[in-house]
């Protein structure tokens, strides 16, 4: 197998195994020697051509390239997953609650509060639902994304603003606020 054929195979596998579209920039990261963009673009064209008469097609969308099933297969594929899972897992609900009540938060913040590492699928479900999105990066090593709830979230929960979220007023909050010195604590209520 030639060097070029090998490169092409690597690109193909990367695109088939990625759940997100991959940009040319992403694809350069596959190779240590940073294959140049024009080569990658050329190979992508070749791959597109190789698959022309097959069941999938290599398509360019806003954030990059992805393989997608040709439209005539949709009818079959829809029979496989007619309905999405009827319920969110406990993890999804807890992560949503943390983002709603503690926004803006990073993934690490969420992990710290829940005490377990976070499956990226959990965040993806909430982003797909358009209940949360990334509103910036925190100035920390790795520049982690900051998550917050969206307008859509407020609409779906019939809230005018986040401050309308139910408050904890049990002994629980009591104990918590007693054990805590929080300079941010103040009594102002909006409206």
């Amino acid at each position: 197998m030639t060097q070029v054929e090998k490169l092409k195979e690597v690109l193909e596998v990367a695109l088939l195994t990625s759940s997100q579209p991959l940009s040319v920039e992403d694809l350069t990261k596959l190779f240590i020697d940073k294959t140049d963009r024009s080569t990658i673009r050329m190979l992508l064209d070749e791959i597109k051509n190789d698959w022309k008469d097959k069941s999938m097609s290599l398509t360019q969308v806003a954030s990059g390239y992805r393989f997608q099933a040709k439209p005539d297969f949709t009818e079959f594929l829809m029979r496989l997953s007619p309905d999405r899972a009827p319920n969110y897992s406990r993890a999804v609900m807890e992560v949503l609650a943390i983002i709603a009540y503690r926004q803006p938060v990073t993934r690490a913040d969420i992990e710290k509060i829940r005490g377990v590492s976070l499956n990226s699928n959990t965040l993806r479900q909430l982003i797909e639902r358009e209940w949360i999105d990334v509103i910036g990066q925190k100035e920390l090593p790795g520049r982690p994304s900051l998550y917050a709830t969206t307008k859509n979230f407020l609409n779906d929960f019939a809230l005018k603003s986040i401050s309308e979220l139910p408050e904890l007023n049990s002994s629980l909050t009591q104990e918590l606020s007693e054990s805590n010195v929080d300079i941010n604590r103040q009594e102002i209520q909006e409206n």
Binding site: I98, N180, Q189
Partner: protein, 260 residues
Amino acid sequence: MTASIKNLAKVYGEEIELLPQDLYIPPDALEVYLDSFEGPLDLLIYLIRKNNIDILDIPMANLTLQYVNYVEKMKVIKLELAADYLLMSAMLIEIKSRMLLPKISLEDEEDDPRAELVKKLIEYELMKDAAENLNEMPQVGKNILIAQSYFERVTEITYPDVTLDDLFAAWKNVIKRAKQFEQHQISRSELSVREHMTIILRKLNDKNLLEFSTFFNYEKDPIPKLVVCFLAILELTKEGLIKINQQTSSSSIFLQLGDT
């Protein structure tokens, strides 16, 4: 016999293969050692393998002495960890003393006081070994990559129904459990402040640089809202998410994202 000891402690960045014979451990290194053992059985296995002892014929006096020495040192530093370790000390001493008693039974085949301990040690070592193997196996998400190409869905995806009560229940659950991990603070910080932090970040995301006064609508906003907005700006600054700039003492104040 598999005598290799993995997961050895590192002291001053160097892996330590063997402990000094006299069991002297520098005080600041002990904690590192402690963390590298999963418990008393792990420590015992380490001592046995290190000393090349036949696990089926453990010299109890020797092993007990070494073990107790360790635990004594641990007690000095990390008291709360010592409970499981202390129990094992007691057990070792008991086995040792039973071995000193004259044999009563004729059926001594079944009666070696060490039998129970040896079984435990081997069973644990088996699982320890299995855990290492599992960890090295290829795993999805780590080094097995699976095809998951896209396809266009025609019908509406039906999403789960979630009510505000569900969300609140989840939040209560988080708080309740978070109390079990003592070190982080879930405080009842005002929601409106956090919401304004989000609003401000969204605005700066669009514009990157905005004049301080654009965040306040003095005519329309009630005073509490202005205060909340101000507190949100302070909080964002404290968390390093935004920067506040002013060229001279009377010029305009600008806010920008913390990354420039």
